[in-house]
Symmetry: C2
Subunit: 151 residues, 2 copies
């Protein structure tokens, strides 16, 4: 588990401690395929041990964010969800405004934009992960059909 070592190191640098709870939260985040809410992490951790509190999940998530190991996303339904940076490698997301589905895209797609921003605005973009709204292919077809049948 690549991130555990990194986690441990960054904790040590700051004089912080590695606890079983923190390990479990980290593992849960690692297992989840996509983003997970605090509740989802909590549920997953609870299976292993009933001795972890929701507040600890929140505290650990905040810690991971400070350590730049975690990124946050706002889901279509407004729920906050978390994802480890670096598990799937850096990446970005497309979010369908109709079905709400998130899909992952390669960072290369965004690289030219980053270049442009640096040149034109002097801005060093570090999109841990960008969330781009739009219509996915399936929903686009659905909307096209609806428009037809409505006409």
């Amino acid at each position: 588990m690549c991130c555990e070592a990194q986690f441990l190191q960054r904790l040590r640098e700051r004089g912080l401690r590695l606890t079983p709870q923190r390990e479990m939260v980290l593992r849960a985040l690692h297992e989840v395929d996509s983003h997970a809410t605090a509740e989802e992490i909590y549920a997953r951790v609870s299976v292993q041990s009933s001795a972890v509190d929701l507040s600890t999940v929140y505290r650990t998530v905040e810690l991971l964010q400070d350590l730049r190991l975690l990124s946050t996303i706002e889901r279509a339904d407004g729920q906050r969800a978390y994802e480890l940076i670096g598990v799937h490698g850096p990446h970005h997301h497309l979010q369908c405004r109709r079905c709400g589905r998130l899909s992952r895209i390669e960072p290369e797609a965004v690289q030219p934009l980053i270049e442009t921003l640096r040149q034109r605005y002097g801005f060093a973009a570090e999109p841990d992960h960008l969330v781009i709204a739009g219509l996915c292919e399936a929903c686009r077809e659905r909307e096209a059909q609806e428009a037809q049948s409505a006409a």
Copy 2:
């Protein structure tokens, strides 16, 4: 006020009504330079008339979103803020991860990315407004200096 006419039209289409409260919220959003939170809109509206409730602000904001006249952003401090689409024209934002400042960029900068996404993923991106994290020029220099003096 370009958006008021559009607002009225879309309200009518749905059999909804134009009330003084809705006008005031719209005006407040129009006057604000950047994004405004519900509280900020409320404060601004309260100056004109003490007879507007916070819940009405929330309801109006939600309505404007349904009507696709308003977009939401999550500020660096986690606060939700709102901005009319089309007042400043379509645009995107750069958000500095250090000072939190938002700056506006032209949509053209993002156009090539939208093309790429369509071609490679069949995704019809409609970024009302994208928020791209990174370091602004000033903070980048500051960090560089700090790194130097630390060494």
